[in-house]
Amino acid sequence: MNAWRGACKLPGPMEAYLDHNATAPCLPAAARAAADWLLGPPGNPSSAHAAGRRARAAIEQARGQVAAALGARPGEVVFTSGATEALHLAVAGLVPPGGHVVASAVEHPALFGACRVAGAEVTRVPVDALGRLDPAAFRAALRPETALVAVMAAQNEIGNLYPVRAVAEAVGPVPVLSDAAQAFGKVALEPGPALVVVSGHKVGAPAGVGALWVAPGLDLAPFVAGGPQERGRRGGTENTAGIVAFGVAATALPERLASMPRVEALRDGLEAALRARVPGLRVHGDPAARLPNTLSFRCVGVDGDLLLAALDLEGVRLSSGSACSSGSLAPSSVLRALGLDDDAARAGVRVSLGPETTEAEVERLIDLLPAIVARAHLSGAA
């Protein structure tokens, strides 16, 4: 029996939720903490009275919990609405208009969006066919005016782990921003970056809360100006309930990390079974340095959106590319960066597991995928 399933309401027996990288189930304890806060007495953390002090204390407790999970001091953690906002906060705070950013070619679109908004010029460091990055390539891309280097800790689509520490050593003293939204809670984070972005809903908190860790001594210009909240770095009344829940989820992080060997065994079993049963299956990413929960693959000639839909109709939830591009827009830019052509990139799908995942859920995909791929070939769709 899997302790993670516990009181959490998960899909019924015919459903398999295999999209934990999109969002993870909310931990019951985190949901309860948020509900308790919302159902309790009100309080704006900026208010001078006791109700405000209570809210402030709740936030500061959560800040300590998240900081502990990051191995940081509480004062270095800024709460945001999520990873996207944290990336914007970091880029806007460090990159002057027209400034230069060196970023891996496979960063999340939110990072590139933040650079665009900041008016930054971006040099993209390419990946090889396995999606790997070379730290020396970051150094080679530096210019005197480079204000920031961005390298994610783990890639959301293909699951690759990146040598954040080696990149930081290669580009010092330029500050390194590391998007750890997917790595947090799945692998230990490497030291080295000056800024780390994490997201609540990937680790069992509700969506709508995230954090930016900023190394001591680094000055960020305020992003959402107009309020003294978060030491002036991020104005606006805090999402106290979400922050409290994030704190609770952060305290469960050691258990989450401890569950990863089981998750990895499930993922490896899934990968082996699919390789054996689905002709033309190709796995993406670096088998030597990959998140324990993620499997990115394609079935040659079969559109990823078709697989997503066909599996969805049978109760299996996974994604094609990142959640944003699965509305059938462009082929995955991450798979393109690996050197795949448009058709191959369109074929990509991502399975991502979590501590709550059961063997039955994985079995369901193993049972269904070969038949669905065969049907696609028979129908002429492949």
Binding site: D305, L306, L308, A309, A310, D312, L313, C324, G327, S328, L329, R346, R375, A376, L378, S379, G380, A381, A382
Partner: protein, 364 residues
């Protein structure tokens, strides 16, 4: 049964989906993403519309309302190659194309039907006003819709016999007013959306601008002469892509005798537009090619069938002969404005027999 409903976001396909759902089928909505939003549409959507033009959002809203699955399929490349580019090229050749038929032939009842099968669907449902009749012997007839004013069978003449077995048109027996009534009754968010008779990728009706954008500045037709039937130059035009046979407005020339002038012929390669009196628009027949027969064979040469030479044509009695891939149609009474590039679709009563693409009028 599992049915895929092709959903454009309009009233008709939304009602088709709702009726299938009401009848107890497992409905899967599929919307084709055919093109990117134009800058105007992006502005109207408030900018930053990353994924869907409004119609796709409407289709999704209807499916959400019904509680059924909805997916978008990206056919932008195929649509450009199979529909938009041939559309633009036809104008360069002096033809007036019919992109809706091409879209049905190459996307809706080809790629989308294939995708429906790949999703395990028993049928592909669309909101077309047309009917499929099961002959009971394993073959099917395509028929006109009950509501003659809404009949869209003209656009469907290219359907393959084997595809008919898996296509349902639930609106074929209904009147448009019934469809709106159903939409209102079912609380569909699109019930009062206006009917569009425009070509979807020319929302403002400015064909010439679309042609220019697709073919690029090098290939845009040059200005040329407007001549009468004797070859006398009456004026100049801004490019043959602005003209279609039978057109009266926007010529900017008048006949010396003060008669109303109509476009009789558009010669793309020469860049010439020929105009003349309305009686010169009459043709005894036409020649067409690229024929398609739903039952695999054309009607016998001595049979009088009904020929429609454009979507809104009421139909004219005619006899047809097929020589190789060429179809000759002889009208019992001469018909006005036979337009190269349009489809000629042949009917036996309610039944669609097939048709072809008009190459030229014959006789006078």
């Amino acid at each position: 049964m599992r049915v895929v409903v092709a959903m454009s976001g309009g009233v008709d396909s939304s009602v088709a989906a709702a009726l299938m759902h009401e009848a107890g089928h497992e409905v899967v909505g599929l919307s084709m993403r055919l093109r990117d939003a134009t800058p105007d549409e992006q502005r109207a959507a408030g900018g930053g519309s990353c994924c869907s033009p409004d119609d796709l959002r409407d289709a999704r809203a209807v499916c959400d309302r019904l509680g059924v699955a909805h997916y978008v399929v990206d056919y932008r490349d195929a649509f450009r190659k199979a529909v938009i580019e041939p559309f633009a090229r036809a104008y360069l050749e002096g033809r007036t194309p019919n992109p809706c038929v091409l879209c049905n032939d190459h996307l809706k009842f080809a790629a989308l039907l294939t995708r429906a099968r790949a999703l395990g669907a028993d049928a592909l449902v669309t909101g077309h006003y047309a009917r499929v009749h099961d002959r009971g012997d394993g073959t099917f007839e395509l028929r006109k819709a009950r509501d003659g004013r809404k009949d869209q069978s003209y656009f469907l003449f290219g359907i393959e016999q084997k595809a008919l077995a898996r296509i349902w048109f639930p609106l074929g027996e209904m009147e448009k007013d019934d469809v709106r009534e159903h939409a209102r009754r079912l609380g569909l968010p699109v019930w009062d959306k206006h009917d569009s008779e425009d070509i979807c990728f020319v929302p403002d009706g400015d064909y010439a601008r679309v042609v220019e954008a697709v073919v690029g500045p090098e290939a845009v037709p040059k200005p040329g002469p407007i001549v009468d039937v004797a070859g006398q130059v009456l004026g100049t035009h801004d490019g043959v892509h602005h003209f279609t046979v039978g057109q009266r407005k926007g010529l900017g020339v008048s006949s010396p005798a003060g008669e109303r002038l109509y476009v009789l012929d558009v010669d793309g390669p020469r860049g010439t537009v020929t105009v003349g009196r309305v009686d010169r628009l009459l043709a005894a027949g036409l020649v067409a090619n690229r024929t398609h027969w739903i039952d695999g064979a054309p009607p016998p040469a001595d049979e009088v069938v009904e020929a429609r030479i454009r979507y809104r044509h009421q139909g004219a009695p005619a006899r047809v002969r097929v020589e190789g891939d060429q179809l000759r149609v002889d009208f019992v009474e001469p018909q006005r404005a036979v337009t190269p590039g349009q489809a000629v679709v042949l009917y036996r009563g309610e039944q669609v027999l097939g048709g072809g693409w008009i190459e030229a009028p014959t006789g006078g």
